[in-house]
Symmetry: D2
Subunit: 392 residues, 4 copies
C-alpha cells in the first residue's frame, strides 16, 4: 500500500484507525530504509512476517511475477508446480548471469537486490564475528568443498603455472578432494606436536621447505584450516600468512565452521593484518544454521573474490542465498552476536562437564590449545549433551 | 516498499531494473487503488501472490502485529501457536464489537477493512448473479441455518407480537430447526401439484389462509425457499412477495444455494421489485466454494440486514469472511460470471445425459419447471457424473 | 508410509538408515496412539510438524480429498481458491449435520475425528484448570456472546415458560445483548458493596427476591459472571448455585476468560459441587490464545450441553475448532499448566508493580478480593507493562 | 497413521466412516508403493497434498526431525529460522557425503531417499522424452554451466593428458566459460553453411582435422550443443558421435534445454546408438520448469556420470533436487509427455504465425532445418506472443 491508499481507506474505516495503520506502515518502512541505506545487519532481528513481506515485494520486481506478463524467451523463471513456486516466494530466476554469478539479472531486479543485500549482511556478520579486515565476499550456492575447488580454479586462471597446493594436513576428506577436483596436486605437510601439550599444530618450517622444494611459482597456493578436531589445533594462520607474504604465494583458508569461534576469527584477522590472505571460505550451514548448500568466500581484498564470482559459468541456484538472507535478517546483529556469545559460554560449560565426566571415567581431557571447535559445534544448545556427559 | 525506497535501490542494482521494479510496483498499486475506490469485484481475478500481499499488509495494520507492541488489555489478538497465526495471516482479532458484528474494531484496522471490502465485493457478486435490487448485505460467520435463526431473532425484536413463521414446506431439516431454535412456531403450508407437470409448487392461497387464520400481526414472517429438490420447485417468490406486501407481513427467503442459479436469482429480483422481501440468506460455501461456515444475509433495503448485524452479541470469527474475501478477489467479475455461465451449460448437458440415461433404463425425467438446482449442484464440474449416467 | 513401505525402502537406501527411519516412524506413531487412546492433552506439546502431519492425514479422510473423487452432491467441500484450501489444510466440510453441530459427518471422517478429539482435549484442559466437576463440553464456532444466546435458546426449549434471565449486573455489553438477542428479558440485580473492602459483589438476597417476585417458573435461568473488572468481583458462584438448587432454577455462568484464573475455576468447581450449575461458557481466544471466534460450553452434566449442540441448526465453521485443536496439541498438559502458573506469578508481580506505581502517584490500589482478572489478562507476558507502570 | 490406529478411531467416529478413511489411506498407500517399486514417473501426476505429505513423512526420517533428538555433532541439519525450515519441509541436511554427492547420508535417510527417487524419476523422464539409450544420471545442484565444468574436471581425472576441448562454435557464453573455468583450452571449430538452406551446421571434417592437429590423446573431449539459435542448427550429434568413437575421444553434449524438443532428443538417441556419447547435460529449469539452479548429467553408461558424482567435493544443496522431485511427481508421465506434445503443437502454431507476420512485414523466415528451439522456448504457453506477432 502506498501513501495515497491511506486516504482511500478513510472512506472505509474510521480516520483514527487509518492513521494508526499508517503509523504501523511507517514504522515498517523505516526498517526497510535502514536496511537499504545502512546495508548491515539490523540491530534487532526482523519478525518473520516482515521478512516475508519484504521477500514477496521483492519477488514482485522479478519479471516472472509481473501482472499480465507472458515471457517468451528462455530466461523467464517459469515454474509449473505451485508448491515449488511458493517455497521460493516466486523468486525463480536464480542468481547471476553468464558473466558473473554475483551480477544482477535484467529480468530479476528483486532477486538481484537480495543477492546484493545478502552480500552486505554477510560482510557485516563476518566483521561482527571478529574479522574486521574483511573487505569483500560472495555468497555461493555451493558448499565449502566445491567452493574451495572454485577458489583453486580461479587462482589457476591468475597463476597458470601453479600446479601444487601446499596443504597442512587435516584428516577430513572434503578439502583434499577439492584440490583433486580442481586438477591440482596436493603437497601434504605433516603436523608437528606442540611442546608441553597434547596438540598437533602447523609445521611452518615444513611448509616453507615444501614450497621451496617445488619452487614458489609452481605453487598455486598454501591452504590452511581453522576448523579442526582435537588433538589437531587450528593452523597458525598468522605465521603462515607472514610466510605467504614473504614467499609471494597465495594463501587460502578453509574456515569451514570457524566463523562462530572467536579464536578462529581472531587468527584470520591477525593473518590478514600481518601477512597474506587471499581468501577464506566458510560454510553457511555450519555458521549460520541454514540448510546445507552454501558457502561464503571472503577476503581482505576483492581480487580473488571477484575472480571466483567471475569464473562461475552461467547462473546458479538462489536457494542458499535466500536462506542466508532470511536468517541474517531474522537474527539481526544482536541475535548473531548473542549466538556467538552463547557458544562461548556453552563451550566453557561443556569443557567443565567433559572434565568432570572424564575424571569419573578415569580419563583426562587432552591439553590442546585452541581446540574449541569440537565443543563449539556441540554446544549451540545448552543441555544438549548425552546423559553420560551431562552427568550426575 | 514506498516510493522513496526505489531511489535507495538505485545504489544496489542498475537504475533501469529499479525502474522496471517501480513499474511493477505501480501496476500492483493501481490494482489496490481500483479495489479501494470502486469497491466491487475486479474485472479480472487477482493472482494469489497479490492477494496474499494485500492480506499481509492489512494484517500489519492490526495492533497485534505492530512492531514492538505489547498489548496488556483483553482484546489483543494474542495467538500462541505460530501455525495458527500463519493460517490466519496474523488476522486474529475476529470481527465486530459488542455493539455490532459488522462494526470496525479500534485495535484491528486491517481486519475491519477486510470486513468492509468483503461486504462490497459480496454485494457486487449478488448483483452480477442477477439480483440488482440488492442494497445491503452482511457476511456472517454462521452457516445458513444459524443465520436464518439470527434473522428470525432480529425480526422478533422489531415485531414482538410475531410468534409464527408461515413456511412453504420443504423436506430439509435445517430451516425447520432454525425456526424452532429461535423459539418460534412454524406453520407448515403444504405444496400443491402444478398442473400439466410432475412438479410441486407453492400454495399461495394456502399461505394467505394460514396467515389470516392466526392473524397477520401474530405472524413474524413468511419463509420461502429457492433451493429445492425435484419434484418440488422453487417457491413462487414474486407472488409470495406481492402477498406479503399486501398483508404487511415480513418475508424472508432461504436462498441457500440459489445464488449460482439464474432462475433463483431472477425470482428474488422479481420479488424485490414487485412485492415485499425483507431479507434473503445464502450460504457462502455452496455459492462461492469456500469451506462451510458462512452465510450472507442480504436485502433490498438495509433495515433488517442492519438489525441482524446489530443483534449479534459480541465479536465473531473472521474466518468465513476471510475465505470469501480471498475467493472473490481471486475470481474477479469474469471468474464469477464465468462460473455462473458454466453452471448453466453444465446443467443443460446434465439434463441431456439424464434424459438419455433414463431412456435407456426405461425411466423418464420428471417434468418439473425450474428444478435446475439438483443439476446445478451436480454440475459445477463437467464430466463429474457417475459412470452409469455419463456412460453407454 | 506404512510398515510394508519400509521394506521397499531397503532397496533404495542402506538398511540401517531405513531402520532408523522406521524407529522415527514408530515414535511418531506412539504419539498418535496415545492421543487416540488416552484422549487427553499429551504430557508434552507436539511439535508443529507432527501436528501438521496429523492434520493432513486426517484431511485425507474427508471425501473431498479422496483421490479420483468427484462429488456431485451439495455437501462436497468444494473449494475453488487454493490459498483458501491450504489455510484449512483441506478440511473444508465444516462441522455438524442438520441434526447436531457436534455430530459426525458422513463425508468428512477426518473433520469429524478432529471435532471429537478437540472435545476431549478441551475437557482435559478445563479439568487441569481446576474444574474437575466438568463432565461434558462442546466447542462452538461462535464467540462467548452468541454462545450465551444459544444456551438461552436451548434452555428455552426445555423450559418454555421461562421469560426472564436474572442477572447479576456487570457493565459489559455482550452478555446483556445475548439475553435480548434470545428474545428474553433481563432482570438486573444490582451489586452490593462488600464490607471492609472497596469491592462490589453479588447480592444473593436481591437475586432470590427477584426470582420470587416473578415466580421461579417464569425465570429461564440465573446468569452469573466470573470475569469482571474491579471493583466488581466475580459473582459468588457457589452461593448462587446453592440458591439455584434450592429454588430449582437453571444457572448459567459467563466464564468468558475465567479458565485461566484459578480463583474463577475454583468458584465454578465449588458451585458444581455444592449447588446447581447447568452450563458455563468460556471463550477460546481469551483462555487459549487462538483467534477470536470460538467458545466452549461446558457443564457438570451433559444435559444442557447436548441440548445446545442439538439446537444448532445446520452445519458450522470448523475454523475455531481447528485452531483450538492445534493449540491444545502444541501446548500439551505441561504447556497449558505452565501458562496458568505463569499467569499467577505475573499477576502477583503486576500487583506489586501497581502498588509501587500507585504509591508514587499518591494513589492507592482498591481492596477488592478476587479481582485478579484485570491483572490476569494484562500479565500473560511479563515485562509487558507500559513504561509508567514498570518504571521508577 | 498406521493400520492399528484405525481400530482406535472406531471409538471416536462411526465404523463406516473409519472404513472409508482407511480406504482413502490405502489408496494413497498404493500410490507410494507404486513409486517405491516401479521407480518411474506415476502415470498420472500426484496431487499437491499427497506430495507434501510424502515430503513431510520423509523429512521425519532425517535425524534433525527426530522427536527428542538433540544433535551434538557438526552434521545435524540445525536450522534456526523457522521460515527457512518450513520452506525446506525440514529437509536440511543437504545431499551427499564427502565421498560422493549422490551418496546416502547416515543422518538423513529421508533426504537420501528423495535423492535416489529423483534420480529414477529423472531417468524415466529422459527416456520418455526420447532418449531411450540413457542408463545413468545424476541430478546436481549446479546449473548447466558449472555442471559442464564438473564434467570436464571429472574427465580430466580419467584422461590426465587431455588439455583441449574441441568445440563446435556457438555464440553463448556459458559453455565457453565452463571450459575455461576447468582450466582447459577450447579449440573452436567454425560452423559451415548448410547447402540449400540459410542454416549453419557442424563442420565434421573441421572437427576431425582439429583433433588430428593436436593429437587425439591431448583432446579431453569433443563438446557439441543441441540447443541453438537460428540460423545455427543443433550439432550433428550422430555424426560427431561416430567420429568420436572412431578417434577414441570422449564426447560431451550440452543439451541445455533440448530435453523438451524431440528433434534434440532424437539426435542424442542416435548418437548414443551409433557412436560415442560419454555424457549429456541438461538444465532442470529450462526443461522441467523449476527455479534456476540444477542440471542433470546423464549418459548411455554410468562411467562418467559416476565419476562426476564422485568428484564432487563435500555435500551440496538439496534445493534443486527437491524442486525436481516435486515437479516430476506432480506432472506424472501424462503431464510430462503432455507438455512435450503441447510444445510441438505450439512450435508449429508459432511458425505459422511467424510466417504470416513476416510476410506482412516483407520479411522471410530463415530456412533452417531443425531450428525449433527458439520456437520451443517461446511456445510453452500458446497465446503468449507479443501483439505484432499474434497479428491480424
Amino acid at each position: 500500500m502506498l501513501p495515497q491508499h491511506f486516504d482511500l481507506l478513510k472512506g472505509l474505516v474510521n480516520t483514527n484507525y487509518v492513521e494508526q495503520a499508517q503509523q504501523a506502515r511507517n514504522s515498517r518502512s523505516k526498517q526497510v530504509t535502514a536496511l537499504l541505506t545502512q546495508r548491515r545487519l539490523p540491530d534487532v532481528g526482523w519478525k518473520e512476517e516482515d521478512i516475508q513481506l519484504l521477500l514477496e515485494e521483492m519477488a514482485s520486481f522479478d519479471t516472472n511475477n509481473f501482472q499480465g506478463n507472458v515471457g517468451v524467451g528462455e530466461r523467464e523463471g517459469r515454474v509449473i508446480s505451485d508448491l515449488v513456486r511458493r517455497r521460493h516466494f516466486g523468486l525463480t530466476h536464480g542468481i547471476g548471469r553468464s558473466g558473473d554469478v554475483m551480477a544482477e539479472q535484467p529480468k530479476a531486479a528483486g532477486s538481484s537486490l537480495i543477492v546484493q543485500l545478502t552480500k552486505y549482511l554477510a560482510l557485516d556478520a563476518i566483521r561482527l564475528a571478529g574479522i574486521k579486515a574483511v573487505k569483500a565476499c560472495a555468497v555461493l550456492p555451493a558448499a565449502t568443498g566445491l567452493t574451495m575447488t572454485l577458489v583453486f580454479l580461479a587462482l589457476r586462471q591468475m597463476r597458470p603455472e601453479g600446479r601444487y597446493v601446499v596443504w597442512s594436513r587435516i584428516d577430513q576428506k572434503s578439502c583434499f578432494k577439492a584440490i583433486g577436483a580442481a586438477g591440482l596436486e596436493p603437497i601434504v605437510v605433516e603436523l608437528k606436536p606442540i611442546e608441553g601439550t597434547d596438540a598437533l599444530g602447523t609445521d611452518i618450517e615444513g611448509m616453507q621447505a615444501a614450497i621451496e622444494r617445488v619452487g614458489a611459482d609452481k605453487v598455486l597456493c598454501i591452504c590452511t584450516t581453522t576448523s579442526t578436531f582435537a588433538p589437531r589445533v587450528p593452523d597458525f594462520i598468522d605465521e603462515v600468512a607472514m610466510m605467504a607474504s614473504k614467499l609471494n604465494v597465495p594463501h587460502v583458508i578453509n574456515n569451514a565452521y570457524g566463523l562462530q569461534c572467536s579464536k578462529c576469527t581472531h587468527l584470520i584477522e591477525m593473518g590478514c593484518r600481518r601477512g597474506r590472505v587471499d581468501a577464506f571460505v566458510q560454510s553457511t550451514d555450519k555458521n549460520f544454521m541454514v540448510p546445507v548448500g552454501g558457502a561464503i568466500v571472503a577476503g581482505p581484498s576483492s581480487t580473488l573474490v571477484d575472480k571466483v564470482s567471475n569464473l562461475y559459468p552461467g547462473r546458479a541456484s538462489m536457494g542458499p542465498v535466500l536462506d542466508l538472507f532470511i536468517t541474517l535478517l531474522s537474527l539481526g546483529a544482536s541475535g548473531w552476536t548473542g549466538l556467538l556469545q552463547e557458544r562461548k559460554e556453552n563451550a566453557k560449560w561443556f569443557e567443565e562437564q567433559l572434565a568432570t565426566a572424564c575424571q569419573k571415567l578415569g580419563l583426562r581431557v587432552l591439553k590442546a590449545r585452541l581446540t574449541h571447535l569440537m565443543a563449539a559445534s556441540a554446544a549451540w544448545k545448552k543441555g544438549s549433551l548425552p546423559g553420560w556427559l551431562a552427568g550426575n
